[in-house]
């Protein structure tokens, strides 16, 4: 090959590689833009909450004592469900939540690392002892959804699951204390 065609060819190869690198750059930028756009406009973010709690005493007093567990509708209408994830059960075992309203799930563990997901939704978080896991979401469909532990936590891990009962506005009736329990079906 003479020098002239080789130089032309190498320039052409360099051009191809630069074009490809530009295309990859555009794809990476588009993917990051989609993530940022979704976060800003649709409020879809990875759940992130850094809040410490003492796992040795969380059941004795305060937010995660027994009488505070389950779903509570505050005076301003905000819905919060407090759940303890422990070997090998969720307390309470059934969580009643409304459809079409923003809800907050707050979870804590007194023993080992657990994790939750709610089937058919984007709810998915770890529950690490020493921290409060918090997820904001809004359910779009009524029905019973499975909430299994998705982080291996011991021999009974496969038996560790709860039910999320998503109720319509007519069915979601808080009592005088603002508490809502699962409807019997």
């Amino acid at each position: 090959m003479t020098d002239q065609p080789r130089e032309t060819h190498e320039r052409w190869v360099l051009g191809t590689e630069l074009t490809w690198a530009f295309g990859v750059g555009v794809l990476v930028a588009a993917t990051i833009s989609i993530i940022v756009f979704t976060a800003l406009t649709l409020n879809i973010n990875p759940p992130s909450n850094v809040e410490r709690i003492d796992p040795k005493t969380l059941h004795l007093s305060g937010e995660f004592s027994e009488q505070n567990l389950g779903t509570l509708v505050a005076a301003d209408g905000t819905v919060t469900a407090r759940i303890i994830a422990t070997q090998f059960a969720f307390v309470p075992h059934c969580i009643a939540l409304p459809r079409g309203r923003p809800v907050t799930l707050r979870l804590a563990s007194p023993d080992v690392i657990h994790g939750i997901l709610i089937t058919g939704t984007n709810v998915n978080t770890m529950v690490v002892p020493g921290y409060v896991a918090q997820v904001h979401t809004e359910f779009t469909k009524s029905g019973e959804l499975l909430m299994p532990c998705h982080e291996y936590c011991g021999l009974g891990h496969s038996e560790m699951w709860a039910t999320v009962q998503v109720l319509s506005a007519a069915e979601f009736k808080p009592d005088s204390d603002g508490r809502v329990s699962c409807a019997r079906r």
Binding site: M1, T2, P5, H9, W12, V13, T16, W20, G23, V24, L27, T31, I34, T38, L42, N43, I44, N45, P46, P47, G120, T121, N122, V123, N124, V135, H136, T137, E138, F139, T140
Partner: protein, 64 residues
């Protein structure tokens, strides 16, 4: 003529005449094919990502 006489090794490179112009043409075409193949593969992955994002992830609702 003996049947089992060893024959000299066949070396195709010795016999073929490599035309510089033809070689240059091939070297132009091969990277183009690689680019088309890689582009198609990346396009399929991107389409799969967009399909899962639009038809699975977004309908599952907000979370944060």
């Amino acid at each position: 003529m003996p049947v089992d006489q060893p024959r000299p090794a066949h070396n195709p490179l010795e016999e073929s005449h490599i035309d510089e112009v033809a070689l240059s043409t091939v070297l132009r075409t091969v990277p183009l094919g690689a680019a088309v193949l890689a582009g198609s593969a990346v396009a399929l992955v991107v389409l799969g990502y967009l399909a899962i994002y639009l038809f699975v992830f977004l309908p599952r609702g907000i979370v944060g």
